[in-house]
Symmetry: C2
Subunit: 333 residues, 2 copies
């Protein structure tokens, strides 16, 4: 691998001059420009970003933490984040936690060692850890769709409480009184205060619906989880069976619908299903999915804006796109 000083030697100039030429930092005489250029082509020179990052004390890399990139919601979100960050010349390093707090810790540590200029957390499993780590990251960290109670961090948050409430209300208005709830997180241990779960609990309480632990399902993430959930529901005694279920993930909802249909339940007539995210295939499900749409694009824009603003790379946080959540009514409820 050719280095800058080899280029300098072959071109018969000093290293400083080559560097200046490469970065268009200062004027370099036309003659030397040509010499340098030919040397570069001759030796197939490629700058070593690592060295330059070390010297510059900045990498132009941003870390993004998601729970699982094969979750279409995160895929879309990552896509949008990347697009946005590229516009500002940043590169993105994505890491998946797979909902493992230990992996989360490890990856945050790795990102720090890699000297990323900032981190966007689109999924946090262990907010204690976060509180512990946050000070050392300071302003280069943005929470997207997550909130930390322990520590004040730049945060992009949507009103999931309200959206959940509205969705439940929609079900309630249609006469549902026995509503089940599926979440990706734990229950009841951690994150009890997470806004969606809280909204569910509050809603039930406010409307005098029984809160039955048998109707609350935790750690539900995938299509397969949804299928298994369907099996569980279908095995419940008819009088215990919910007439509707609110799922925090479209994936789970689709798997669920599939399994319910396989067991000859009708959706939404026997059991209504509401999902969350409005993932791309939601409207292509066996029963087009009624779901809460997350404004992925705006979320990404705001998060990046926020981050770059905190990094001093951008002046105006300016735009404040609509971060509203919207219930998309299709056929499943």
């Amino acid at each position: 691998m050719a280095t800058i000083s080899e280029i300098a030697k072959t071109a018969g100039v000093g290293v400083g001059t080559v560097s200046r030429y490469l970065n268009h930092r200062d004027t370099v005489s036309a003659a030397k420009q040509k010499q340098i250029q030919t040397a570069i082509e001759q030796l197939h020179y490629t700058p070593n970003a690592i060295a330059s990052q070390l010297r510059a004390q900045s990498t132009n890399n941003i870390g993004v933490l998601v729970s699982r990139i094969s979750n279409p919601f995160f895929a879309q979100l990552f896509d949008a984040l990347e697009r946005e960050l590229h516009r500002y010349g940043f590169q993105v390093m994505v890491m998946q936690t797979h909902d493992d707090p230990e992996a989360e810790r490890r990856f945050l540590d790795q990102l720090k060692q890699q000297q990323v200029d900032g981190v966007i957390l689109a999924s946090v499993e262990n907010s204690d850890l976060l509180a512990q780590l946050a000070p050392t990251y300071a302003k280069q960290m943005v929470l997207l769709n997550e909130e930390s109670l322990q520590v004040a961090l730049p945060t992009v948050s949507l009103n999931h409480y309200q959206a959940t409430w509205d969705a439940l209300n929609y079900l309630y208005d249609q006469g549902h009184r026995r509503i089940s709830y599926a979440t990706g997180g734990n229950y009841p241990s951690t994150h009890h205060g997470r806004s969606r779960t809280q909204a569910y609990l509050d809603f039930c309480q406010a409307h005098g619906l029984i809160i039955d632990d048998q109707l609350i399902f935790a750690q539900q993430h995938t299509l397969t989880d949804g299928q298994q959930l369907g099996t569980k529901l279908s095995q419940l005694a008819p009088n215990l069976r919910p007439t509707a279920i609110f799922s925090n993930s479209d994936e789970v909802a689709v798997g669920l619908i599939n399994q319910l249909q396989a067991q000859h339940f009708r959706v939404p007539d026997d059991i209504a299903v509401v999902g969350y995210d409005d993932q791309p295939f939601a409207k292509f499900a066996p029963v087009p999915l009624t779901t809460v749409r997350q404004p992925v694009l705006s979320m990404a824009q705001v998060a990046v804006d926020q981050l770059l603003h905190n990094l001093g790379k951008i002046n105006t946080p300016a735009l404040q796109p609509d971060l509203g959540l919207q219930l998309i009514i299709r056929k499943s409820a």
Copy 2:
């Protein structure tokens, strides 16, 4: 940010000793170990990976190039690649080309500047470029699911020709004589020789089926593309309309089915649909999708194995998992 020499100073030892301690490289006396450890905790030291990478002339980073991570097939593939690479202590940098040759060039260049130890190409748009770049990358490049005619590169390849042929044959056996074809690539310009397209053309020829450019659709990638394709098909005069369509992507297939149903066509009775990949939601489609399953896990394992072997990080290429493609017969054909 604390550095290793600050640690050394606070602990009252030399930098070399700290480094040795950190890397468990040599024995360090118990007393100094304790001093160093306390200094580390006191100063919140985090090693600077950039510096160490510069010195070591190796980053332990592997680049992965895909066309679009929100394509569930690539998401799964990336997932598997990452899992596998983590096992060997590598980190993964993923980049999306969005099928843009220019982006491909740019990203490959960036990866090189970032000094990645290797690259796995799961999608290549411009194989001329590749031929041009490959020599400078030498052995640290693996083609996954792609082939380059111009240059010999380590390659993990499946028999897509055969799988396509088999799928078409399945349709043929069911009496279909007018079979449409949808691909993600271009047609007929580049990649004419790509094995799936070639198999289609050869199959038609071998069985005396007309090859009608009106039945061949290029640049089909997403659910939306599939929908639009459905509209196009439904607008064809009945005698021109295909009775079956083979799509190179499940996403397109699902969008297509959805739109066909919306236009009151029955799948598979009026039009049969075969997809490709067996993406996670394929069996949850409105009509469970008949599709060619790609062995994502094995593909990732073999690619990583191949790469690490070439890098000399691993001795035995050993395992040769089954890279067979399998037609999964469900309801759509």
